[in-house]
Point group: C2
Chain length 279, copies 2
């Protein structure tokens, strides 16, 4: 890669740029964002230059889309003139809809979906961190075998490894189902708990709030703006939510029959395994 | 109080004994527990002497039941010979069933329900800590007005304050409804999430696990032994679970119609208020 273009220089885009630099990237890093964002990105030395999207598309051999999902979907059709041999990739949290949008027969450049499992509560390039991806899973989604074997894809996978992340290739639908269960469903469950408490208890809930309730309502503080796109574009989420509701109904019946032991034991065992705790 | 008897010298009972001592209690502290537990409690200086329950009942003017709820329910009928003027109290996590069991017309000693909102992941007198109740809510449940005004009740409330806790008087049913929403429902939700993930994803879930999922499955590691009694004796929990399931179904419909904004905003506002965050 000689010229990388970061489209959307926020927390993820800015961190990816800083991580590239820290990992020894010698080429040029272009930024495509609003004027204010570019000026912040320049002062953090995340990008070398702010350019319009058209210029980035013509110049870059790595185009990194780090926008919200709905913006990624709007940007993709504008990338048809990207260089042959260039790689376009994105960092959106759902993949099937993006990969569908990225099937552009006329385009010469390759598209590879990506989803770094990294983030923090602060947003914007101000919070960017070259270590953000260190030891994190970085999903790479593709449509056909062989897509990961092109020179551009191989080089991108090397950079993922150099910034400290672990590339995990995965089919887009399998990816969306996995994050539906491990990320998007937990978000909805936390939101529903906080909404239910707010309706049924109001401020009185504070008297009963211990560390457990704080854990269970932390995700509920997430901003709606981030989640709208995610839940709207994950086709696997509705099924995950339906399965969870069925599980709760079953648990309610078992509660009435005092038969919860099996449920508790399976849940405890799974949760310990998730943390690598064995007892 | 000249003689306090701790019945069940585990984490809570042991911590209460250590907290009394630290707060300047000069009387005798008797312990009622198994031989092994009493020997650990003696070496931690939590109790002065281990005695059989019958002796504790005759000698103590404060009887503190820190057993699991099912054991508290079994112990209460054995306390009818407690001294006139003595106070019997308990530390169980649900209150209506215990207060019902504690209506013993022949008994001269007063019964007052209690529930300290304190705990930690380790159990047993080994983990006891005189600071466990510091800055924590300590619910005190009663049946009739005036019960908090007896000399024995007033002195007990003073000790609650001296060990650093905040006594909050509450009707037993209101207490059970509050903890159903703020503690027992979050526990069931976490258990159901872990059970659902275990069924649907198995070990593959680990690849997608971020800090959010770890938060949401921490409670699911709780041991079944502790929770059996709690969920079996909280008559308000089934209603709370039903209301939560209805909330999730509504959220699922809104998800299908892309109308989640209101739900997210209400949930985020509530969760910030719970933490005293205003923005």
């Amino acid at each position: 890669v000689r010229t990388a273009a970061i489209v959307g220089v926020g927390l993820i885009g800015g961190s990816f740029a800083l991580a590239l630099r820290k990992a020894g990237f010698q080429g040029t890093i272009l930024g495509v964002s609003s004027k204010e964002t570019i000026s912040k990105a320049l002062s953090r030395k995340a990008v070398d230059e702010g350019v319009p999207l058209e210029d980035a598309v013509r110049q870059a051999d790595l185009i990194y889309l780090a926008q919200p999902i709905s913006r990624i979907l709007e940007t993709i059709p504008l990338l048809d003139e990207a260089q042959p041999g260039a790689l376009i990739t994105d960092a959106g949290s759902t993949k099937a809809r993006i990969l569908e949008a990225a099937r552009r027969p006329g385009r010469k450049a390759q598209f590879l979906g990506g989803h770094p499992m990294a983030g923090k509560e602060m947003r914007g390039v101000e919070a960017a961190d070259p270590e953000l991806f260190r030891d994190r899973t970085y999903f790479v989604t593709f449509e056909k075998a062989g897509e990961l074997e092109t020179p551009a894809a191989r080089e991108f996978l090397e950079w993922i490894s150099k910034i400290g992340a672990l590339a995990v290739p995965l089919d887009a639908t399998a990816h969306d189902r996995l994050v539906a269960y491990t990320s998007h469903l937990p978000q909805l469950i936390s939101t529903a708990l906080a909404a239910s408490l707010s309706r049924q208890m109001g401020n009185a809930a504070a008297t009963g709030a211990g560390p457990g309730l704080l854990d269970m309502t932390r995700l509920a503080m997430s901003s709606h703006e981030i989640w709208t796109d995610i839940v709207a574009t994950n086709g696997e989420l509705d099924g995950a939510l339906a399965a969870y509701i069925d599980g709760l109904k079953e648990l309610r019946e078992k509660l009435q029959r005092s038969e919860l032991r099996g449920e508790f034991e399976a849940a405890a065992e799974f949760s310990k395994r998730l943390r690598g705790v064995t007892d």
